[in-house]
């Protein structure tokens, strides 16, 4: 069964460093998303991406964040200058044009020290 994959599974970085989290959405899906989940808290929406542009973003998604679809399969989230409070699980999700169900990847655990 097709699935969303994410790399790395765990990333440790120092405060102020840039990180790139990578995702490969399900191959025929057209809508892509990033969410995050701080330990013990709700899953929170960050951004949605369709047709090579951001379609919706949350107030969390400030200038420190950017997304890109560099080729036909990858979808990335970049955090330019990480803060301690960016430590969280980051989930990529995708959906196809027909349905509204979003399918999530296994997540990348980001630890900022």
């Amino acid at each position: 069964e097709p699935e969303v994959t994410q790399t790395p599974s765990h990333q440790v970085t120092q405060m102020g460093q840039e990180v790139i989290l990578r995702c490969v959405p399900i191959s025929n899906h057209l809508y892509f998303y990033w969410y995050r989940q701080i330990l013990g808290q709700k899953v929170e929406f960050l951004v949605s991406f369709y047709n090579n542009e951001i379609s919706e973003k949350s107030e969390i998604f400030d200038d420190q964040f950017s997304v890109e679809r560099p080729d036909g399969s990858n979808f990335t989230l970049k955090i330019r200058s990480t803060k301690l409070e960016d430590s969280a699980m980051y989930f990529c999700a995708s959906r196809d044009r027909e349905g509204y169900e979003q399918y999530f990847g296994p997540g990348t655990r980001l630890t900022v020290t």
Partner: protein, 112 residues
């Protein structure tokens, strides 16, 4: 404020029990209701989704939506230890939104 609220947990039941998990949402603009299962430190796994009021069944799982009272439920029949996980409800806050709003999640333990 567009929120999805979920019954606090944790919930512990014996194997074979019927489990009822519930959420409410804050206004009638919410559309498409989903239930996800999340194992510890893993991604949310889509279990069921529904749009309209009423019941939708899939094996041991039944999703129920009552739009008049803004209430959604997931029932698990003949619960198994492998059902032990955190269950998340989620919905779109309005038509045309791409953002899923999640409940905080209910941690379920099914004891053998």
């Amino acid at each position: 404020q567009k929120e999805v609220e979920q019954d606090p947990g944790p919930l512990s039941v014996p194997e074979g029990a019927i489990v009822s998990l519930n959420c409410t949402y804050s206004n009638s603009a919410f559309q498409y209701f989903m239930w996800y299962r999340q194992y510890s430190r893993k991604g949310p796994e889509l279990l069921m989704y529904t749009y309209s009021s009423g019941n939708k069944e899939d094996g041991r799982f039944t999703a129920q939506v009552d739009k008049s009272s803004k209430y959604i439920s997931l029932f698990i029949r003949d619960s198994q230890p492998s059902d032990s996980a955190t269950y998340l409800c989620a919905s779109y806050p309005r038509g045309g939104s791409e953002k899923l709003v999640f409940g905080k999640g209910m941690k379920l333990t099914v004891n053998p």
